[in-house]
């Protein structure tokens, strides 16, 4: 799932809802060892029956394909093997040496990382500022802002991309009309995608606009956990606004911020739909990020093995971030 899908409906945030406000251990793992023991004995096999369908499903649609990605990366599977069903020949590390020796790949990787860094910085920066602002607002303004955020959040990616495509259209786009009013008539008909930097500007706008609601809502919820008495005490003791933020507010929201930032890194690294849809399902080579590069190798050049190998490299690049994220989760006890 990519950053894109987050706004689809809300992100697949792996933080489970646990609205129990107290620090008391939840009833399942808690204070009744006697009950536990009896359960274990009685239901020894039952939990395995319960998870069996889920395991089969996940194995079939995630783990098996992932294994197949690995296998295909060491083969040479093209259109002929796909349609005839003939076994694809093994080629060892051929695909990887080809890819790593191709300067195109390094450009794509560089572009992916820079794009991800810009999107994450903007999303988290703006998101944090808006969340902090939310606390200073009158109740009715906060309500208006929340409704606006939820409206933006709920836009399906496909729809959001269509809106931005229309707004940035060279002929009928609102952006060109507005700029032309300020700068002059020659902006009419300006094509934003001829220059990839400008094109990525529009794409970044779409990605950041779509990601901000989740970040703001999450960070604002974390901010409500900051004890107000502490902030007031600090203010009375003469701490500056920045000092209060740094020593009182930030430590409380830091775990949530780190978690959201890590998720953003993963999602924005995997951005696919926004670019794909804004570029009419066929992005030019200068718009390719790793996901699109892998996609176009597989489905445009019908070299499924090359596509798989690139996807595998992407997974390996991301695995470091994923491990970091999991460690964060473990620390907060979410996996218990």
């Amino acid at each position: 799932m990519s950053a894109a899908d987050t706004k689809a409906v809300g992100p697949p945030v792996p933080v489970p809802p646990d609205p129990q406000p107290t620090g008391k251990p939840s009833s399942a793992d808690g204070d009744a060892p006697r009950v536990q023991k009896r359960k274990r004995k009685k239901g020894e096999l039952l939990p395995y029956f319960l998870i069996l369908p889920a395991i089969v499903a996940i194995a079939a649609v995630y783990l098996y394909p992932l294994g197949k990605t690995v296998i295909m990366s060491f083969q040479d599977m093209g259109r002929r093997e796909l349609w005839s069903g003939e076994p694809a020949p093994w080629v060892g590390f051929q695909q990887f040496t080809n890819i790593l020796g191709d300067p195109e790949f390094w450009w794509v990787t560089f572009r992916t990382i820079v794009f991800m860094a810009i999107c994450v910085t903007l999303t988290m920066g703006i998101g944090l500022l808006v969340a902090l602002l939310m606390r200073k607002l009158s109740t009715w303004v906060r309500l208006v802002l929340t409704v606006a955020l939820i409206a933006a959040w709920s836009m399906p990616l496909m729809v959001a991309a269509s809106i931005f495509r229309f707004m940035a259209d060279s002929d009928y786009g609102l952006i060109n009309t507005l700029i032309a009013k300020v700068v002059g008539e020659d902006w009419l008909g300006h094509n934003w995608y001829l220059n990839p930097i400008q094109g990525f500007g529009i794409i970044t706008l779409l990605v950041v606009w779509g990601a901000i609601p989740f970040v703001v809502v999450t960070l604002y919820a974390a901010l409500t956990q900051v004890p107000q008495e502490l902030e007031e005490a600090a203010a009375l003791d003469g701490a500056s606004a920045y000092g209060i933020y740094k020593f009182v507010t930030w430590p409380v929201i830091k775990p949530v911020f780190t978690m959201v930032a890590t998720l953003s890194v993963i999602w924005d690294f995997n951005v696919f739909g926004q670019i794909w849809l804004l570029r009419g399902n066929k992005p030019e080579p200068e718009y390719e990020t790793l996901g699109l590069y892998s996609y176009s190798k597989a489905f445009e050049s019908t070299s499924f093995s090359q596509g798989s190998a690139i996807a595998l490299i992407t997974v390996l690049l991301l695995s470091g971030v994923a491990v970091y994220y999991l460690r964060q989760l473990m620390k907060t006890g979410e996996v218990e």
Binding site: P12, Q36, L50, I51, K136, L174, T177
Partner: protein
């Protein structure tokens, strides 16, 4: 908000600065909602205003012509049908499997439990193409291209991890004692689940199903690759047919997009509070 009055006494300039913040807040709200406004207003304005170099922020008149053109596009009816069949089937199947797994994770300690949770979190981070290529190749070999079931299986499983973790959150909040006392009173384990746990779990299941439904409704990439038959396009893929070599009919595209987004917005409003509350209360407790 009770503290506001106290701080106002301490700092008399508070009220003035609040006004500044309010203005900034309204500005941000306007920016965030503008694309949504633009979607709706473009869907409702006459086509001559859309096909114009001079876009105006207000329409001169309101018309439903764009909606009529959108519904007259080929395959509109079948696209709705496909989207509904695929999304609903995937959600029903997904919820059954997710509930079972959530009960196991939330109620039992067993070997491999933690590993299962970790796997469920990890698989959600995989890049879409890492799945797309092998699934396409596999379905192709099994004759699952252009068939609903291929898409259904993919959607079912892709919402499974999140749904399981979400439902688990609701399961652990139902006291075990309820279940136990039902069993003491003579219920079997299954009866205890059906008569005691399930009714309490229903709101959580509703939230998780809406989440899964919206996810399936919004998906476009797998639908685009796995379905090539025009008459089986889902709504999102159908939306792509608005762009042809001769350009894009933006009026109809905006109208169709509005129709597709509308149920999502409604559903989203229903669950948003639940999601937002659930997201962090767990995360900050440490």
């Amino acid at each position: 908000m009770s503290s506001t009055t106290e701080t106002q006494v301490l700092r008399p300039d508070r009220k003035k600065s609040r006004l500044h913040f309010d203005i900034i807040g309204l500005g941000i709200a306007a920016v965030m909602i503008f694309p949504v406004y633009w979607l709706v207003i473009s869907a409702l304005r006459p086509n001559r205003e859309i096909r114009s170099y001079n876009q105006t922020l207000w329409p001169t008149s309101i018309t439903f012509d764009n909606f009529v053109r959108a519904t007259e596009m080929p395959n509109f009816g079948t696209a709705i049908q496909s989207s509904l069949i695929v999304a609903v089937t995937a959600v029903v199947g997904g919820m059954v499997i997710a509930t079972l797994a959530a009960l196991a994770i939330g109620r039992f300690r067993f070997f491999g439990r933690k590993a299962l949770i970790l796997v469920m979190i990890l698989v959600q981070m995989l890049p879409p193409t890492a799945m797309l290529i092998p699934i396409y190749a596999q379905l192709n070999a099994m004759g699952g291209i252009d068939e609903y079931w291929g898409l259904i299986v993919v959607y079912l499983v892709s919402t499974l991890p999140f749904a399981t973790i979400m439902i688990r959150g609701f399961v652990v909040n139902i006291p075990v004692e309820l279940e136990e006392s039902a069993m003491v009173d003579g219920c079997t384990r299954f009866q205890a689940f059906r008569r005691v746990i399930f009714p309490l779990l229903a709101p959580g299941l509703a939230a998780a199903s809406i989440f899964a439904l919206v996810n399936a409704w919004n998906e476009y990439l797998f639908a685009y690759i796995l379905i090539n038959d025009n008459s089986k396009y889902t709504l999102n893929v159908w939306l792509m047919t608005f762009t042809t070599e001769r350009g894009t009919d933006y009026g109809a595209l905006m109208a169709a997009s509005t129709m597709i987004a509308l149920p999502v917005v409604v559903f989203f409003m229903i669950i948003q509070k639940k999601m937002a509350a659930g997201l962090t209360s767990g995360a900050v407790k440490g």
